[in-house]
Symmetry: C2
Subunit: 572 residues, 2 copies
């Protein structure tokens, strides 16, 4: 492609609305332009990268035996009501009414449509398994779209859906997708981890997220330095504390602690530290008051509490709950508060010492509250939010926390959708069962942001060869002197020669200064830069620079096509 | 692809809601499934054909120098208000509101977005020309979606937009697109004609439609048997009638013609024929009453009248207009009615004889109304709807009327959008001008319907090789006897051998009867059918059938891979 006719204008300065490097660079390099909040136009260069990423995804889906389909973006809202997801998505979903006042959802995903589709075609165990995928535009009406493609409202997503006869089949389909995802992200040049996840709005049981490691990532995740354990902060746990012998701390005694906002103030007042205090956190579990007990220096993990009582409905007490129950001494609840129907304690409360706890009356705390004497939890579990240095639940090694960009997510859905939408099959004995489903998403446009976050420097983007819009950036510098015509002619020959060999070349044939051309080459980020100028031509060489490493050398002009074609072929 | 795992169930019977062959066959062959009125899911086989057609379009757009982009489906409605198309589209457009109550259009096309995009990047005559295209889902809230993909509400469309400095540039861009369109439709195996068109909702001046000839087509078009003249019925004209000497018909006389509904009854009552009567049709032209005069046996072409008075607003008188003007004798207006400010006459009224016309009073007609004596039109033009046998305006040959499916449309837009949305450039003398635009659409999903309409028979689809989902359909018939294992093994070898050679093969490895397999092969329509059974294997041959012609022969099993690979390569 000739830059003189390419629809592209690069920008020297970062756009005002772009806070992170990937967003800044994708705008400056002319890949995307904002049309509305979280909605973008893709310019030719951006469209090429997007298609390259989509093709890697397609290859690996096909390789894994999934079959490509195309499902509607405008989906009947009735289907979403049948599955209960209309309500669940709420204002995150765009809804549109047609002229006959029928409502449609703009697809955030397609479980309902694909389940109905499979239900209409398949009915026997002989038909299964099947895995259908599509790569299509999706919609989420984000409250605060930001970071360019990272949290967009219109985005390109690959969504796949597997249908099996039983859980063993699901596990096979899930494992095949998991392996395909690893290949996709590796081929895209990403440093990533697969982490155990909560399932969020999709529902279902087992799920794992693929996180591209990035400081700007919106999601934190926990991982072990010594083994392959990784989980998002909601799903992460630490190694349980074993049982210990309790030492009698002396008799329980009450202390007046008025007007002390927060654990640390109370601890200081009592001459102790926060880790020796105990918090009793009020939850509503199907209408009952349940207390979650954690050390004073740790946060309770609401998802862990919810998991412990699943399928009950679990939520933190709100101000309104406390207002409705004035008998509960908010901020001063002890582990033996008699209004609680149950207590669940983090295993780290198995300490030999006594605890400072709420005294079950306003403005008072108790000392020397002893496990087994003043309180005995109904259940033990790991319910604190993991912090760096906690011990890995798998191997006991130290856990670390990093931030990441969620680029993929795989779910074992089970029969939630097949039951709701009637996707059943008849087994070999003639009895009917719901199909067992999995679903598998990749944020195709979002991957681009993750790649640029990982592959850039102060000068611009450095595309991995696998997804680069062009393999070679050919910079022609004819100068103003007598040799200009010869440089022009040789550059044209080189351009034609490389294209004949199937090399994708971006040819800077513009009438612009060397400084502008070099700056654009670094900003745009093709893997190999080739410069042809008058001096080099006189010496029979072109200069080569590897964009990612900055490595430079000279190559023989006579063999340049051969050498570059081989290099491009080896890289892609 | 193995049919045993392909997500496909063919249907023996036509679906109840499908009226035309293409719709019936695409559902029966498992290409598409209806999700909602005019909204479809594309199954793997359908998705393959759709992608093949899209790739042909992409090839030819790239070849013509257009650059691929991707523009949002959800477009700010404000842009559509700026161009005036929000109102113009009215209830044909889907509109959606976000959580902040901003409105978006679901794109029917993308003139506004792309014009804004180019306006943001380009500003100099040196930047032009540029042509941007995308292949993406589009939306129209059709009142009566029907015929499957032919009038769908969600459909895949290629839309391209050219930007030039002047009309000469636009003509070059337009001609390049026109030529690319001819290549696209030819490669897709369509019999088509390019016809002069009215521009409809897009606006602008010159435009041409590409019509795939099809009896079920929703649009009629006129074409000449002797030259390449073709136009849609709205734009078609016939050769003008030359001036003739008028013979005095005798004095004008009035006849009482009460209760005579229609021209034919009046003609019969007066002992004459409809072609000797004249109709005076009332139009509102910017608020004035204008009469369009045509022979009694012909229909007036409203578009021709509107063109004659452009840019004035022109419309037929309605019942409400007549009710508001009781002085106009509806049904009895004569060409000399004194309430009319102007008259426009079809040139065929230059006949030597006198006319029977309305008498300008209710229940009366006049005879012997003579051109030049009783009436003299303000203007002459060709304003009747063309009928078969009329003479071609280019060569005088007989015109014919066929029906067609509109598969493409090219427009010279001019500066309508660039003016409304500020897409200007500065010329070499420093003065600013609006860019001159063209726009070019291809109904990618609709093309499939047109192809199936043209390429099918009583047994099913016969895909042109250029877009067939697979080149070869391999039918394996192992039977129940001793030879079954050998047939299975040989079929697997053949399948593997063809795939190694890059041939796309649909392999019917199902446990089904020969009758079922042959019926499906004819229904699904791959260009080459190969059958391997026990008897053939014993003789060292496979049977080959060309789906389109029914031609059969036997080919040597030993050379089958070689022969079929060569045939597939030659076809595609």
């Amino acid at each position: 492609m000739r830059m003189s006719s390419l629809f592209l204008r690069t920008l020297r300065d970062d756009p005002a609305d772009a806070e992170v490097a990937s967003h800044q660079l994708m705008v400056r390099a002319g890949l995307i332009r904002r049309v509305s909040s979280g909605i973008y136009s893709w310019l030719p260069m951006g469209n090429r990268v997007l298609r390259n990423v989509a093709q890697i995804v397609r290859d690996e889906m096909d390789e894994a035996g999934a079959q490509e389909v195309s499902l509607p973006i405008a989906q009947p809202l009735d289907l979403w009501k049948q599955s209960g997801r209309d309500e669940m998505y709420g204002s995150m979903m765009f809804r549109v009414q047609d002229r006959k006042e029928n409502w449609y959802a703009l697809a955030p995903t397609a479980e309902e449509v694909v389940t109905t589709l499979v239900a209409g075609e398949y009915s026997s165990y002989r038909d299964l398994p099947v895995n259908l995928y599509q790569i299509n535009w999706k919609y989420r009406d984000e409250l605060r779209p930001r970071f360019g493609l990272l949290r967009a409202r219109e985005f390109l997503m690959k969504d796949a859906y597997s249908f099996d006869a039983d859980l063993e089949g699901l596990q096979r389909s899930y494992d095949a997708m998991f392996a395909a995802y690893q290949r996709v992200f590796t081929r895209c040049g990403l440093t990533f981890r697969s982490v155990k996840a909560q399932s969020g709005e999709i529902g279902g049981d087992t799920s794992q997220e693929f996180m591209a490691v990035a400081a700007i990532g919106e999601d934190a995740f926990v991982w072990c330095e010594q083994c392959d354990y990784a989980a998002n902060t909601e799903a992460a746990t630490r190694r349980p504390t074993p049982e210990v012998s309790i030492v009698d701390p002396g008799p329980r005694e009450s202390v007046h602690t008025p007007d002390m906002p927060g654990i640390d103030v109370v601890a200081e007042h009592l001459g102790t530290t926060a880790d020796l205090l105990m918090k009793s956190i009020a939850f509503d579990v199907d209408g009952d008051l349940v207390l979650a007990l954690v050390p004073g220096d740790r946060e309770v993990n609401e998802f862990a509490v919810a998991n412990a009582y699943a399928p009950a409905k679990v939520r933190l007490y709100t101000d309104a709950d406390f207002a409705a129950h004035p008998e509960i001494p908010k901020g001063y609840i002890g582990p033996d508060f008699d209004g609680a129907t149950r207590t669940i304690a983090d295993s780290s409360l198995r300490a030999p010492h006594g605890w400072v706890t709420g005294a079950n009356r306003v403005d008072h705390h108790d000392r020397n509250v002893m496990l087994g004497r003043e309180f005995t939890p109904t259940a033990w579990a790991e319910i604190v939010v993991v912090e760096p240095g906690d011990r890995c639940p798998s191997c006991g090694g130290p856990l670390r926390i990093d931030r990441g960009i969620e680029v993929g997510h795989v779910f074992q859905l089970g029969d939630k959708y097949s039951k709701a939408l009637g996707a059943t099959y008849v087994d070999d004995s003639g009895s009917e069962h719901p199909m067992v489903m999995g679903c598998y998403g990749i944020g195709v446009s979002r991957i681009l942001s993750a790649i640029v976050e990982e592959h850039h420097d102060d000068h611009g983007i450095a595309w991995p060869a696998s997804i680069a819009p062009y393999q070679v950036h050919l910079v022609m510098l004819p100068g103003r002197g007598d040799g200009a015509v010869a440089v022009l002619a040789t550059a044209e020959e080189l351009y034609a020669g490389l294209r004949d060999r199937g090399v994708e070349v971006l040819f800077d044939d513009r009438d612009a200064s060397p400084g502008v051309k070099f700056a654009d080459a670094d900003l745009l980020g093709m893997p190999i830069q080739i410069t042809l100028g008058g001096k080099g031509l006189a010496r029979g060489i072109v200069e080569r620079k590897v964009r990612a490493t900055g490595e430079r050398d000279e190559i023989d002009l006579a063999n340049a096509v051969e050498i570059l074609a081989a290099q491009a072929a080896a890289q892609s």
